[in-house]
């Protein structure tokens, strides 16, 4: 047991990330169920207003900072050295430090629930002046800040590790243009983290200074400016959403290619579009501020529309990968397809809210809640499940049950869409976000009830997944190196891999070294 606390093996660290993010996901999911219970009907008193405010704050904070983003980093931790043919990450102890900073940071954020005034309750965005000491006086807000400072440092250190590892530790023949798309997406993700997290750490420190050290950065009565908070926060906050999707673009690329029996279509385009997205994403932050009247709406609208183009390119690359392929509907592929269908909707509503005239109506309404849940839930969450089903055998040596996997997918797909599609209409009808109840007007009551039922179905899907994990682990259906017919180097070693990963490596002459190994008729292997 102690060895798990002192491990520096990237595979064990990856597993710890998956386990801890899973725990935080379960907590955030329970918080979501509390929200949907409170909102099932108008004027319910299941949660008090103060309790509700803490619940949605921690739900957003935990899902974003403690689940979606770090799961991607944890998956990268496990996969990158294997995919590039390296024995470990470049800085193993730094890697472990990142993990524990993340774990203790997350626990600190959540520990606010035990504080006298309760947990942080200013939303995951914690706008000043609402989050200033005069208005949010409790220790919960401070613990939130401290915890997120630790998570920020953790992410920055991981980004440094990933970039160094991929650039310096590639196996012989593994040129940059042969590394898997997942590894490229992680480089882009790491670049974003390096550019975006320091501003977050800065604004969190400024808030702390305002709260406890006599600062007045955001207090207009003393020369401060609340809009400054928004600029700094969103300069981080927008790239953060790309940190939360780029790894999963990589995941679905790998899965779609393998289960279509085709090479990745548009490899170069996928790489260039990742960096186009990363670069552009640094220039769109104030599309979160269209209704402030204090920013150059036209500039940000234009940049936001532009970002849709490289994202669209990726969609065409994925379609091209499936085109004229031989498609197998294994569970990972079902989740990847679900990703495509859901993320498309989220992307379309994203382009809609990128237009200020539309945003003037639906900003901070349930339309927006629907948009970001479609990209993060319908997108990232589906890719996370796809990744779990796809790489579970590699990580643990045991395959997850396919029939339960399919049940999990269909429950999740139906539940997710039932929960979040109605929210488009709730928002258009005038339901704002972050409210503990709503009037019994128009369609709001039945739309909310449908959303609550959908959420219950999603919860069932998660339970089916957990049962699957337990049952499959007990059944111990051991797998060999390559249960799926994979392409990339992680499938060239045992499941799970030995310490330091490879006893020998196949020749690397393309972005599909394991495929090349198994299909010499397609690719002439040089004598080696």
């Amino acid at each position: 047991m102690i060895s798990w606390l002192t491990t520096t093996d990237h595979k064990r660290i990856g597993i710890l990330y998956i386990v801890w993010t899973g725990l935080f996901f379960a907590i955030a999911g329970i918080l979501a169920m509390l929200i949907r219970t409170q909102l099932a009907r108008p004027d319910m008193t299941f949660l008090s207003p103060h309790a509700y405010d803490q619940v949605f704050t921690l739900h957003g904070t935990a899902m974003i900072f403690l689940f979606v983003a770090p799961f991607g980093l944890g998956l990268a931790n496990f996969l990158i050295p294997l995919q590039i043919g390296a024995p470990d990450m470049a800085f193993p102890r730094l890697n472990a430090t990142s993990l524990w900073l993340f774990v203790f940071g997350g626990l600190t954020v959540l520990s606010g629930a035990l504080a006298a005034g309760g947990a942080a309750s200013a939303g995951w965005t914690a706008y000043a002046p609402l989050s200033e000491i005069q208005i949010s006086a409790g220790a919960g807000q401070d613990l939130w800040i401290v915890g997120l400072l630790m998570v920020s440092v953790s992410s920055i250190l991981t980004a440094i590790n990933i970039v160094t590892t991929v650039f310096l530790l590639r196996a012989p023949g593994m040129t940059m243009w042969r590394i898997p798309i997942f590894s490229w997406e992680m480089i882009a993700t790491s670049l974003l983290i390096l550019m975006a997290f320091p501003p977050l750490a800065t604004v969190l420190a400024m808030l702390l200074i305002d709260r406890h050290l006599g600062g007045q950065f955001f207090d207009p009565q003393h020369g401060g400016n609340p809009i400054l908070y928004q600029h700094l926060f969103w300069f981080f906050g927008h790239p953060e959403v790309y940190v939360m999707i780029l790894p999963y673009f990589g995941v679905v690329t790998e899965i779609i290619a393998v289960f279509s029996r085709k090479p990745v279509f548009g490899y170069v385009e996928l790489v260039l579009s990742a960096f186009a997205i990363a670069g552009l994403s640094m220039g769109v932050w104030a599309h979160h501020m269209f209704t402030t009247g204090a920013v150059a709406n036209g500039f940000f609208a234009g940049m936001s529309f532009l970002i849709a183009v490289p994202t669209g390119v990726k969609f065409f690359n994925w379609i091209g990968t499936m085109w004229k392929g031989s498609i197998e509907f294994a569970t990972p592929m079902l989740f990847a397809i679900g990703f495509l269908l859901n993320f498309l909707i989220g992307g379309i509503t994203g382009v809609m809210v990128a237009s200020p005239p539309i945003d003037f109506h639906v900003h901070d309404s349930y339309f927006l809640v629907s948009h970001f849940h479609y990209v993060l839930g319908g997108g990232s969450l589906f890719a996370i499940f796809g990744a779990l089903f796809f790489w579970f055998p590699k990580i643990f040596g045991v395959k997850l049950d396919e029939r339960m996997g399919k049940w999990c997918f269909w429950l999740m797909f139906v539940g997710f869409n039932a929960t979040f599609f109605p929210m488009h209409f709730m928002g258009i009808e005038g339901m704002p976000r972050r409210v503990y109840t709503y009037p019994a007007l128009g369609d709001l009551p039945w739309l909310n009830m449908v959303a609550t039922v959908g959420a219950a179905i999603m919860a069932l899907a998660v339970i089916v997944f957990l049962v699957n994990v337990v049952v499959s682990s007990l059944a111990r259906e051991h797998v060999g190196d390559d249960p799926w017919g994979g392409y990339t180097l992680e499938w060239a070693t045992t499941s799970p891999p030995p310490e330091f990963n490879f006893t020998s490596l196949p020749p690397i002459r393309s972005e599909r070294p394991v495929f090349d190994l198994h299909h010499p008729e397609i690719f002439e292997q040089p004598a080696s």
């Binding site: 606390l5 002192t6 530790l169 040089p526």
Partner: protein
């Protein structure tokens, strides 16, 4: 290394271009400064890589190297376990908690951080 340099330099260049366009369309100093500082940081990283590039001759960058020719090469030293990471995380937590609630706890945390960094340095030199 060439890819690293091109990546960071083109990102920096892109940042400068966007910063200029942003300034012209908004005259907002906050966003312009953020974009400009970002471009500066990226340039530093690229600059360091250019200097380091002189020594890099990675097997990974060769399209035609054969595994048999480079088998058995030293890949460096990789730790398999260390207590310092979890201790460092605890030290940082202590430091930050102290920053909010107690200077005494803050200094304890700071001391712990420095101590761990010193011991980490020693651990690195030994391996």
């Amino acid at each position: 290394m060439k890819t690293f340099v091109s990546l960071f330099l083109s990102s920096a260049a892109f940042g400068i271009v966007i910063a200029v366009i942003y300034w012209i369309s908004s005259r907002d100093s906050t966003g312009t400064l953020l974009l400009g500082l970002m471009a500066t940081g990226l340039t530093f990283a690229a600059g360091y890589a250019i200097l380091a590039e002189r020594e890099a001759n990675l097997d990974g960058d060769s399209k035609t190297v054969r595994n048999a020719d480079v088998a058995g090469e030293d890949l460096g030293i990789y730790t398999s376990s260390s207590a310092y990471p979890i201790l460092m995380a605890l030290a940082v937590l202590t430091f930050l908690v102290g920053a909010v609630w107690s200077p005494f706890i803050l200094f304890t945390g700071l001391l712990a951080i420095l101590l761990i960094l010193w011991r980490l340095g020693a651990e690195s030199n030994r391996t």
